[in-house]
């Protein structure tokens, strides 16, 4: 397989649960060495999509090909080459930290000596060596997450599948996980990642899709998406008045009116934005760079998803 051939090809993937469509025709490609992001609000169909990618859920329609093989037929060979970091803690609480890796290596039919060597290496990489004999129940949230990651790497996968790898972690732990993931990425490991932390996606993903209600809304590189859908900068204007609203409408400036706050999007040197700054920013005003979060909220809306 050439370097340019996609490692993962998803075509027209659909999933219907009891008449409710969770994933509605999703297609994308992931190239070797790429980190691909799957972003979306709760219930967008991210986890359902991920579960179909490693053959946990059978798709209602569509195909998944990994490493040039069909997932429906070659699921066992494919699963031997992927590492999955599930959203739930699926570690074995009956086993120690090290045993978790050794027993899991057994599921991949990795020999005992080889498994022991890999476990030692992974524990070192994830700074878990001092806790090798601890019970999983005694670990902190960050350590549990790192152990799940270590376990997903025990078969030396060609593709790492990460379903919300840092959800629920404190900032220190999150940065530690990001640091390790960046190292893995630098070593050439391909990855597919779901998250609703935009900072995480912007930092780790080469390319991403934003999904909502089971469909892909946009696809692209984080920087491109920001420039295309938001611009370069955002002016947050607190306590806007009627005159400002009138002016924005008159000038046709892209903005979102949140009632108590207006977000004004700008590509940079725009005289009209300067005018807004001068005339309407008398009270609370913030100037900042546009982020992926702005793209996300503009595309998926601001109402709560529960």
């Amino acid at each position: 397989m050439s370097l340019q051939a996609p490692i993962l090809e998803v075509d027209g993937l659909r999933k219907v649960f009891r008449g409710r469509t969770a994933v509605d025709g999703v297609s994308f490609r992931v190239a070797a060495g790429e980190c691909f992001g799957l972003l979306g609000p709760n219930g967008a169909g991210k986890t359902t999509t991920i579960r179909m990618l490693y053959g946990f859920s059978p798709p209602t329609a569509g195909t998944v090909r990994l490493f040039g093989m069909d997932l429906g037929r070659d699921w066992r060979r494919i699963r031997a080459r992927i590492g999955v970091c599930q959203q739930d803690n699926t570690l074995d609480p009956d086993l120690s930290v090290e045993e978790n890796l050794l027993v899991f290596a057994g599921y991949f039919a990795i020999g005992r000596r080889e498994a022991a060597a890999r476990a030692a290496e992974l524990l070192e990489f994830f700074a878990l060596t001092p806790r090798a004999r601890s019970r999983v129940m005694d670990l902190s949230g960050g350590m549990i997450r790192r152990l799940i990651l270590a376990r997903a790497l025990v078969n030396r996968p060609d593709l790492l599948i990460l379903d919300e790898p840092t959800t629920g972690l404190d900032p220190q732990s999150r940065h530690q996980v990001w640091d390790r993931l960046e190292k893995l990425k630098a070593s050439g490991l391909s990855a597919i990642l779901t998250t609703h932390y935009m900072e995480e996606a912007a930092r780790l993903c080469d390319r991403l899709v934003i999904v909502d209600r089971g469909r892909i809304l946009v696809e692209g590189r984080p920087g491109e998406l920001i420039r295309k859908h938001v611009g370069r900068q955002v002016v947050e204007i607190g306590g806007p008045d009627g005159a400002l609203r009138e002016y924005l409408k008159e000038q046709g400036l892209p903005h979102d009116d949140l009632g108590e706050r207006i977000l004004l999007y700008t590509a940079g040197d725009d005289g009209r934005v300067a005018a807004v700054r001068e005339h309407f920013c008398l009270r609370r005003c913030t100037f900042r760079d546009a982020t992926l979060e702005d793209v996300f909220l503009r595309l998926t809306g601001r109402e709560l998803r529960e």
């Binding site: 649960f17 490693y54 946990f56 859920s57 059978p58 066992r76 060979r77 699963r79 031997a80 992927i82 999955v84 599930q86 739930d88 803690n89 699926t90 570690l91 074995d92 609480p93 009956d94 086993l95 045993e99 027993v103 899991f104 057994g106 599921y107 991949f108 039919a109 376990r151 997903a152 078969n155």
Partner: protein, 261 residues
């Protein structure tokens, strides 16, 4: 819906996982089969001895402890296997999400479930072996024939483990296991010829006892331990084997329906 072609030797890896966790608390795990027969024999041998005298069974007379001993092993096989694939498997499935983790590896659902059943049977056979040793100390069993209890325990373990896993596939919550225990396990424990010969039951109750898998296991255990039985051995073996296969298929079917969404 069951993928028979997805079953390979890999199921032994899942078996090994259960074995590793079992080893961690083996002292506690072995305490029950070690002490349970002692308690029963003490209670029935010492306490009941004056009331009961001898039991007529299979054309011969036995002391009550001797009559009871093989049935105690059979009942322990049922309890070990059934509780393993109900409560213990449910905890692994629902609370620990162990199966979800396994399903991200080259293991198939069928292999995982088969391993659960085979594991429960192994655990039951280990308990039977320990009880065999303890009961032999009381001089209640025929040697070396009694050693056949171990393969019988494995077969019985598959049967009870399979029906246990079938219940795990259908119960909505862990509390619901009370129902099959109350309606299935307890009546079987009492009316399978465990405490009295089924030939003592009134005519209408006999077919019910004959339909219990525990009855057949008890009879087979008595045959190898005492040399007497009230059934035809190969029919009882056949019944247990058919029961085991039937509920293994049902367990695989309902666990697939429950887990794969």
């Amino acid at each position: 819906m069951i993928r028979w072609d997805a079953i390979s030797w890999r199921f032994l890896r899942v078996w090994r996982r259960n074995f590793v966790t079992f080893r961690r608390i083996w002292k506690v795990n072995f305490l029950t089969p070690l002490l349970e027969p002692v308690f029963f024999i003490a209670a029935f041998g010492l306490g009941f001895a004056g009331l009961l005298g001898e039991v007529r069974y299979g054309g011969a007379a036995f002391s009550y402890p001797a009559f009871l001993a093989p049935a105690l092993i059979a009942a322990a096989v049922m309890n070990n296997a059934f509780f393993e694939t109900t409560y213990a498997s449910f905890v692994r499935m629902y609370y620990q999400k162990t199966f979800d983790g396994m399903l991200a590896t080259p293991l198939s659902l069928e292999e995982i479930m088969l391993a659960e059943i085979v594991w429960s049977a192994s655990k039951a056979a280990a308990a039977a072996a320990i009880m065999l040793g303890v009961l032999s100390l009381f001089g209640l069993l025929l040697w070396p024939g009694a050693l056949l209890v171990i393969p019988l325990a494995f077969l019985g373990g598959i049967a009870f483990g399979a029906i246990g896993l079938f219940f795990t596939g259908i119960v909505p919550t862990i509390e619901m296991f009370n129902l099959p225990i109350f309606l299935f396990v307890t009546p079987m424990f009492l009316f399978s010829g465990t405490f009295f010969p089924v030939s003592n039951l009134p005519l209408w109750a006999k077919p019910l006892a004959l339909s219990f898998p525990l009855y057949h296991l008890v009879e087979l255990c008595r045959l190898v331990c005492l040399g007497r039985s009230e059934t035809v051995a190969f029919l009882s073996l056949g019944y247990l084997a058919v029961f085991a296969v039937f509920f293994t298929i049902l367990a695989l079917f309902f666990m697939r329906r429950r887990l794969i969404r």
